[in-house]
């Protein structure tokens, strides 16, 4: 059994947080279960003498509860900054793509040769998201009917897509490859078919794709890159 694929640096950080929480909660869990097992094993009516003195545990219980609180705060201290980076950080995008969700497929709209969205040369592709590696990709998500959810497991990225509202996600793929995109919010009877592919290209492979799709204009020398760069 292998660990799920990682495609971005943030995915690595999310996994690190996962291991931290697992270590902390796992320690408490193992200790509690071991204690429980010990008590069941050792303190049976048939095998022990009953305890004569009254039972005062408030001090221990409060101390342990305080330790739990401390662990919780440690976890929050790592989780909150990571959330801010994932969701609140206004990253400078190298590429901006529109994604439309509609029962039951994803549609991606690329800026086309002029490098700008919302113009007549925008290219629309069904179920395929093509991005270059090591570039900040900004995705603007819209739904045309019900609530969907844009989920890239390899990027540990998820965002619900609502009608009447725009949602923005960003990611930066660190290595080329083919990854899957799923819909993670029940959107109807064919929700389970709403799969798209994410293609992360190396620079050469990306140029090839752009040419193939007619998205490159020889005057600008490279589309899908913000004006003034490349």
């Amino acid at each position: 059994m292998h660990w799920p694929d990682r495609m971005t640096a943030l995915a690595t950080e999310v996994d690190a947080l996962f291991w931290l929480v697992l270590a902390i909660t796992g320690a408490w869990l193992v200790a509690a279960e071991a204690y429980l097992f010990f008590c069941l094993w050792c303190f049976r009516e048939e095998t022990t003498l009953p305890m004569a003195k009254p039972w005062h545990v408030s001090g221990i219980v409060v101390a342990l509860t305080g330790a739990v609180l401390a662990c919780d705060l440690v976890i929050e201290a790592y989780s909150l900054p990571l959330w801010r980076t994932m969701k609140q950080h206004a990253v400078t995008p190298d590429t901006e793509i529109l994604a439309y969700a509609k029962q039951f497929r994803w549609r991606f709209v690329y800026p086309g040769p002029d490098g700008r969205l919302g113009t007549s040369d925008d290219r629309e592709i069904d179920s395929e998201l093509h991005v270059p590696e090591k570039a900040n990709v900004r995705l603007v998500l819209r739904s045309e009917d019900v609530i969907h959810s844009f989920f890239i497991p390899a990027a540990r990225l998820k965002q619900d897509v609502l009608p009447g509202r725009e949602a923005v996600v960003w990611f930066r793929a660190e290595r080329p490859g083919r990854f899957e995109i799923a819909c993670a919010e029940l959107c109807g009877f064919a929700h389970y078919t709403m799969r798209a592919f994410l293609f992360v290209h190396s620079p050469e492979s990306f140029r090839e794709w752009l040419e193939q799709e007619g998205q490159i204009s020889h005057s600008t020398g490279g589309a899908l890159v913000a004006p003034g760069r490349g």
Partner: protein
């Protein structure tokens, strides 16, 4: 003892069926809840079959079509939460035990009580009827988010949603009526000497659960009517085209939905706090701390709801406060867990079936509790939301609360309710099969969730990254079938036990609370004379080298 204000009906059938005796009503709730559990479990088996063996015909059912799959998962969740958990824990145990435990002859409003169980019964009928209407039952998940649930063109379901809304409304009204009874009875009908301090923990947890329910259900009732308006009267509360917002449903739903899980958990904790001291043969330590923790967690439960909505599109700045409150709510529950664990230290444990179920509840709930921490950390929730990690987490909290704790309660109070002790050998088989099978089903699901396996999909055929995980579905499904079959052992136990003559003593477990002072089963008005309470519950002393209970009504 003063006779009730009204005359009970004369005709024997009417008296039996439309009873106002809290003991009969409590049993009616228990039985209705268990019958609905069979339906909910059947849907679960359909779900598990499809996941393990997609496109294969399930015997007696056929091939599971995707729209049916969605209907089954919706009905499974709805039934288990609203038609099994609440009736058994609140209506069943609450109604049966509270008057007995406080020393009253019945609930404060016996006719209201009778009405509540019948309204609940109607709610069950309405929900079951939704299977038989054109286009089938509601199929957008037990959470039924609009716009999917608001418009036929998106869901393909028509009457099913409306019957779901109506069933919920009736169910909530029944629980509300029950809650009013619980609170009034506990406030007013306590026997002399039964101060708030001396109240058994079961009564405390039922009261706090009732208050939680009363104060949280309003917004969802409003939302249910709003969805009904959107569906039929052209309004647009949840439709962006009409200046509404789908997120509004989610906020209203989860504002109720989160306190709701504590409405279910608290009576389960109540069962544990009754069973643990009795079979550990020692008092429950630090009762005051436990009560304080319960109150703190009840208050906090109103402040955590948006942890279900971190990636929903709500303002991302809200994630921090809700993540904080969510993580914090683990603190009072940790305290309660520590107190329960402390009960066992140097105890004289009697490990019968009721105690095994109670210990099993705690052992399993620990896993549910810690996995909640993963989900409360917003940055982790981004990946884990709407995956099987969530499914495993809530089954690890709800199954112990609803099933294991309920069985602990059933085995514990069966002698009181039916005058016989359930067979211990069959009980042991029942427990171990249930416990092991439960872990077999749900433990592997965490691994699925870590991989990003989405919820509510009937088949992973479309996803390459999930293909290696298919064997886990088979393991979980085998476990699910064993789990359901294990309950046959319980039915067998019922059949065997009920055949025997009813000869259980008043206090077979040597417990300390008032219900054990009357015969098993109790006479019609519970107490022949008004009981007087002289001490706290759960007192035990050592006499002649053995532990003996000192019940609440015994003067030394």
């Amino acid at each position: 003892m003063r006779a009730p204000r009204y005359e009970p009906p004369r005709h024997p059938l009417w008296r039996r069926v439309f009873s106002t005796d809290h003991k009969v009503i409590g049993k009616q709730y228990l039985i209705l809840g268990m019958v609905m559990a069979v339906l909910g479990a059947a849907s679960a088996l359909v779900i598990r079959w499809q996941l393990a063996f997609p496109e294969t015909a399930l015997p007696f059912y056929g091939v599971v079509e995707p729209p049916q799959y969605n209907a089954h998962l919706t009905m499974h969740g709805t039934i288990m939460l609203f038609f099994v958990a609440m009736p058994i824990l609140l209506g069943g145990f609450g109604n049966y035990l509270i008057p007995l435990m406080v020393g009253a002859h019945d609930m404060a409003f016996p006719r209201l009580n009778g009405a509540s169980v019948w309204i609940f019964f109607v709610a069950c009928l309405v929900l079951v009827a939704s299977w038989f209407v054109p286009d089938g039952p509601a199929a957008a998940g037990w959470t039924n988010y609009p716009p999917l649930s608001a418009q036929y063109r998106y869901s393909g379901v028509s009457w099913g949603f409306d019957l779901w809304l109506l069933a919920l409304l009736f169910d909530f009204i029944a629980v509300l009526m029950s809650g009013l009874n619980v609170l009034t009875t506990s406030w007013n009908l306590r026997a002399p000497g039964m101060s708030w301090r001396r109240l058994p923990m079961m009564v405390w947890t039922q009261c706090i659960a009732a208050i939680l329910f009363l104060l949280s259900v309003g917004p969802l009732m409003g939302a249910v009517v709003m969805l009904w308006f959107d569906r039929h009267f052209g309004s647009g509360f949840f439709s962006p085209e009409k200046l509404g917002d789908p997120l509004l449903w989610q906020h209203l739903f989860w504002f109720f939905g989160h306190p709701e899980v504590y409405v279910i958990l608290l009576p389960a904790l109540g069962v544990l706090t009754e069973v643990f001291p009795t079979f550990a043969r020692r008092p429950l330590p630090a009762k005051g701390l436990v009560l304080a923790a319960l109150v703190v967690s009840a208050v906090l439960s109103f402040l955590v709801w948006a942890h279900h909505m971190f990636v929903s599109g709500m303002n991302v700045r809200l994630a921090a406060p809700f993540s904080l409150t969510t993580i914090l709510i683990s603190v009072p529950f940790a305290l309660i867990v520590f107190v329960l664990l402390a009960t066992l230290w140097r105890a004289s444990l009697r490990l019968n079936t009721a105690m095994w179920f109670a210990v099993g509840t705690l052992a399993s709930f620990l896993i549910g509790g810690v996995t909640g921490v993963f989900l409360g950390a917003a940055a982790l929730d981004v990946h884990l939301h709407d995956t099987y990690f969530v499914v495993a987490h809530f089954h690890y909290t709800l199954f112990p609360s609803v099933v294991l704790a309920s069985f602990a309660g059933v085995y514990f109070w069966f002698p009181k309710m039916w005058g016989r002790v359930l067979d211990e050998r069959l009980g042991g088989v029942h427990f171990w099969l249930t416990f092991v099978a439960f872990h077999m089903v749900f433990l592997p699901l965490f691994w699925l969730g870590v991989h990003g396996h989405m919820r509510r999909v009937p088949s992973i055929a479309y996803y390459e990254f999930l293909q290696p995980l298919q064997p886990i579905h088979v393991v979980a499904t085998v476990g699910a079938f064993v789990l359901v079959l294990a309950q046959v052992v319980f039915l067998l136990n019922l059949a065997v036990t009920l055949r025997r003559p009813g000869s259980a003593p008043a206090n077979p477990w040597d417990a300390t609370t008032l219900e054990w002072s009357v015969a098993s089963p109790p006479p019609e008005h519970n107490f022949a004379r008004v009981p007087v309470v002289v001490r706290d519950p759960y007192e035990y002393v050592i006499r002649g080298g053995a532990v003996e209970a000192v019940p609440q009504w015994v003067r030394e």
